[in-house]
Amino acid sequence: MHPTTESPQMIDDREAAGDITDAIFALEDVTIRYGSAVAVREVSLEIPRHEITAIIGPSGCGKSTLLRSLNRMNDLVPSARVDGRVRYDGHDLYGEGVDPVEVRRRIGMVFQKPNPFPKSIYDNITFGPRVQGIRTGLDDLVEGSLRAAALWDDVKDKLQQSALALSGGQQQRLCIARCIAVSPDVILMDEPCSALDPIATLKIENLMRDLRERYTIVVVTHNMQQAARVSDRTAFVTLDVDEEHGRRAGVLVEYDTTARVFTQASDARTEGYITGRFG
């Protein structure tokens, strides 16, 4: 990354200018294919630690695919292939000998539609720690995770009840608590609010801001206002259509602090999307 011979003043200056001083992810020319079709082409960016980074863009342009490459969830699709380099804390995520299971213990994910297990709230949260061999201190872990997810007061008296009895917004916060319980470094969120009502959405957005202190958050959203409200940095991904060869792939068009992306976008396509001219 950057040499540590920088003085604190130099670092402050660069941060003020919007440069990334402490990146947890570094993508270099990442191209993701499903079989022979290119989903995402040559994306390069760095994701800073302890910030909320949003990925926005029209539907179908590969945002989710890009997100899933960060915790190797694309491995679930047999035909998926990732070229280029995805570095996490300096380590190549797709290198030899890297275990996807270990990757996912550090980089968690919350999905678009809340997917709690059909078990009790307590058992949902303890599943992650249990599969990692943690057997003691579970009660404290459950309370801590639920507090961090702003759900403790709602459910503290009914931990043994089924998770499916919760409302949609509560289920999603449960999923966040479940994710937190394994102490990840990063929480990836794939359109976490798109299945929720506005009030639940607001609660989760507030939660995201609180979580930023302990975790790094990368969120995919098709809701621009949400990105503007919540994120520190925004990446705009859109479809690049090559009419000649009949190819379409997602490309990273612009990536900057949220303030700049939304007020002084440098690319016309970004401006067009943000002002609603397309997408």
């Binding site: 380590h91 890297v98 270990e102």
Partner: protein, 312 residues
């Protein structure tokens, strides 16, 4: 919270999980057992059956019209033509299909196109119950109810106590649920738009069924009949009880016959020593039986594959 500063690559597999590898290996073994079973079936039938063909002439096996594999080859009355057994099987199966195809198809058409949801909810489970009746019970019914009934209708001289007709009728009734449910699946798979197009130009239900649904579902229906035929050929208890144990080359439904399956049961009941010709003949007949049903199953699967290609 950063992890793994002690290890070279914290993302490498940390905890040894050898137990999982063993478990996955066991699961694979369970899956592979099916291949072992098939190989074993073929091996057993071939090994013992070919010992049989070592002692007798294949030509005789195929062309002779009598089946009496008792005693030593060359002794008086020793005949090893399989034709009577195959004929018995085919006669019973044929009668069964004559019964099962109209009833099964009729049931399928009724359930698929005419019946109201409540009627379907009652009738379908009853069909499933019928499918679950053990074949010994059906054999009992064939011998003690159907045969006397046939004898009352056609006279005891045309209908033997053991005859192909009773067994055939009951075998047919046995495979009605198979043909009905598979045909109904095939008809349900016909897209609703086709029916609606026909109804839209004023066709009646009968016309829609006969001219649109049936032709569209034809390959599925054919596959259902072929599978039913396979089940009829492999049926053992009904024929052992009701069709008799006298290998006869005939097409008369009232006559006593012996099917391949009934011969196997009869020969197993006798105390024939291992390695004797009679013992080996059991496996030779089993081999022919297995080959016939396997061929039918393969054909049915091909037909189904072509059918799913048409409707996805």
């Amino acid at each position: 919270m950063s992890r793994g500063t002690a290890r070279a690559n914290p993302l490498a597999r940390s905890s040894g999980r050898p137990g999982e590898k063993v478990v996955l290996g066991l699961l694979f073994a369970c899956g592979a057992l099916s291949i072992v079973t098939t190989v074993a079936i073929v091996a057993v039938l071939l090994v013992e059956g070919s010992a049989f063909f070592g002692s007798i002439s294949l030509v005789e096996f195929v062309t002779d019209t009598r089946w009496q594999p008792f005693g030593e080859p060359g002794s008086a009355g020793f005949r090893v033509g399989i034709a009577p057994l195959v004929a018995g099987t085919l006669l019973v199966t044929g009668i069964g299909l004559v019964v099962a195809v109209p009833l099964g198809l009729g049931t399928a058409m009724y359930l698929s196109e005419y019946a109201r949801p409540r009627a379907r909810a009652i009738l379908k489970p009853i069909l499933e119950v019928l499918a679950g009746v053990p074949t010994v019970v059906l054999g009992f019914f064939a011998l003690t109810f159907v045969t006397p009934l046939l004898q009352d209708i056609f006279g005891a001289r045309t209908i033997d106590i053991y005859n192909a007709g009773s067994a055939g009728i009951v075998v047919g009734l046995m495979i009605v649920p198979t043909i009905a449910s598979l045909s109904e699946d095939a008809m349900s798979a016909v897209p609703r738009e086709l029916r609606e197009a026909a109804y839209g130009v004023g066709a009646t239900t009968r016309q829609v069924v006969a001219r649109v649904v049936f032709p569209a579902a034809l390959s599925g229906i054919v596959a259902a009949v072929i599978l039913g035929m396979g089940r009829a050929i492999g049926e053992t208890m009904i024929v052992s009880i009701a069709a008799g144990n006298l290998p006869t080359l005939t097409v008369m439904p009232g006559a006593q016959v012996q099917t391949m399956t009934a011969y196997i049961v009869q020969a197993v009941g006798g105390e024939s020593a291992r390695g004797s010709l009679t013992y080996q003949s059991i496996f030779a007949v089993g081999l022919v039986l297995f080959a016939m049903t396997l061929a039918l199953n393969v054909v049915a699967q091909r037909v189904v594959r072509r059918f799913t290609q048409e409707y996805g």
